[in-house]
Point group: C2
């Protein structure tokens, strides 16, 4: 628990509802009711109050209001980091939905650091915000569930299977299956996967789907073609590419866990005088904006990011209205955006 050293703002004068009431010659109740459009006051009185408020540039104090109503109108969104264009449209979706219900969202990054995450979780506990949407958490399943029991809390994109909490995500198993199938239908037989190996939930699911697709097509997965990296960044992609190229029989297509991995692949191929899309087909994941901008354009599995955001807020809203409502689990459909590095089959 942090100490709190109050530093006042005594330097600027501003009016309270009491003074507005005095100036308008009515009671504070009437002013409050006027502000909140609760009728009760006659039109003439309301007009007088509005005029005074405008004249003196009155703005109600959010803190006083929140204390009384036990609601702040703010929702916290936690991201791992800001500089990942995958999250932006999700946040926009949340914001869009929140705004329609009169909420403001605030965004904070946890930098995948537990202490930082705790600092922001305590904003919820202290009721400085009304609810929380987390796009990536360092919490254990048990902790997630416990927190969700105490506060409106929704998870997007990385939902623990067994936590009783509202969440929204794509079907990662199916996404892996679809990506592999797409490459198979292009005629590839030796297909690699570069997977992310951190304690994260989606990688094993995508890999399972990937393997199943191969088996369904009568291809036995070659373990030397399934690599795991500790980061999903460009360097890891390049390193993995080198490994694959040094095999006696390199793959002709690769499914990457992320777009940066795909970019690393392309870099490494270029260093060998090879071209992604011609000498090797590549599919990335998340359809981040660089995928559409890169040369060559990167084929990528796209998540319905904006909808994920909208849905997440909807789920949170239910929880804010009734904390005891039963948690919902929503799955949204993904797509594959075909560009240069892997053409559309057929």
């Amino acid at each position: 628990m942090l100490p709190f050293h109050g530093g006042q703002r005594q330097d600027v004068i501003f009016l309270t509802i009491k003074e507005i009431a005095q100036l308008a010659g009515v009671s504070v109740a009437t002013v409050s009711r006027t502000i909140n459009h609760q009728g009760k006051a006659s039109p003439e009185v309301q007009k007088r109050v509005w005029d005074i408020m405008k004249k003196y540039d009155y703005v109600p104090n959010a803190t006083g209001r929140s204390l009384r109503t036990t609601r702040t109108g703010m929702v916290l969104v936690l991201l791992p980091l800001l500089s990942n264009s995958f999250y932006s449209p999700i946040v926009e979706g949340i914001d869009h939905a929140a705004r329609q219900q009169g909420y403001n969202i605030i965004v904070a990054t946890i930098q995948m650091d537990r202490a930082t995450e705790d600092r922001y979780l305590s904003l919820v506990r202290m009721r400085q915000v009304d609810g929380l949407i987390s796009l990536s958490s360092t919490l254990s399943t048990a902790e997630i569930q416990a927190f969700g029991q105490q506060h409106p809390f929704v998870i997007a994109c990385e939902c623990p299977q067994d936590a009783r909490i509202s969440c929204v995500e794509i079907d990662n198993y199916k996404a892996g299956y679809d990506a592999a199938t797409s490459l198979i239908r292009r005629g590839h037989k030796r297909i690699a996967m570069i997977n992310f190996d951190y304690v994260s939930l989606s990688p094993p699911l995508r890999e399972k789907g990937f393997r199943k697709a191969l088996k369904d097509a009568g291809i036995t997965p070659d373990e030397s073609l399934i690599l795991h990296t500790e980061q999903f960044d460009i360097e890891s992609g390049a390193a993995s590419c080198e490994k694959l190229l040094s095999l006696p029989e390199p793959p002709t297509a690769v499914f990457c866990y992320s777009d940066p991995l795909a970019i690393g692949m392309i870099h490494a191929l270029a260093a060998h005088g090879l071209h992604a899309g011609k000498d090797m087909e590549i599919i990335g994941f998340d359809n981040t904006d660089v995928a559409g901008v890169f040369l060559p354009g990167i084929t990528s599995v796209a998540q319905p990011t904006f909808d994920i955001g909208v849905t997440a807020f909807g789920l949170l809203r239910e929880k804010m209205l009734d904390l005891n409502s039963t948690p919902k689990r929503v799955t949204l459909p993904h797509t594959i955006v075909y560009r240069d590095t892997a053409k559309e089959p057929k």
Copy 2:
């Protein structure tokens, strides 16, 4: 002014300081003083209070606290949009500095929409946050100044020349001068500039610096080589490139207002079978993360983003401590990061 419909959170029970006091057999004053490390209570009493708080998982209510102290410990950061990697490190810098002073930052995007911006400005007016750092505003100079007089408010990156308000930015004139000079020293004589033409403050400054560098080198700026675009995106870059290539005597080097413009140039060159860095040298701006990732690597003018963030919070802190302190204007140094599209001179 928005009405406010209180929706209660009656469903979950939690303790107040009063109940903690009762359970510990002390007064609320003692509990409060213990929480805030204000001494006064004996060590034994303090321990008893901490134990009770831990046992019952007590967390002080931020709203009650804020109402009394007139401070929320939150600072609002306004961005144009989230999906621009230029802003991320600035926000990280702000966050870093804020954290050291016990503040939390919250990020919101204004989507370059006045109504949206107003909604967030009213968070400041309602005192739901203690201060505001804006990385891009749709407000007029007069409005900016007025707001800065009433609330702690700092601007970063795009500071109106004549507003009396604290701000931090680079020297855009010098940045334009340096970029041009770099190309001149590489031996180029026909140097183009693709500038941004929106009501923004930095474009004319950078252009002035660009022109001055040419003149200082004895080169008369060729007006057909100085283009203005309404967006600073990839499409505009490609379109501008086409224009330049269709000239009787195309330039051999280009200075772009942004990295996306540079990427557009590269795309268009590639479409003509030309290579950026070989057939034409290109310098972008902001050193966004795609610049380092792209093939070829994009040479770009880099702003000291993290430091801009740290400095911005420092300036805001001064204003939060004393709203009447005289505004400061800070200029930080830029650099040029050389990659493939324009080699370092000499």
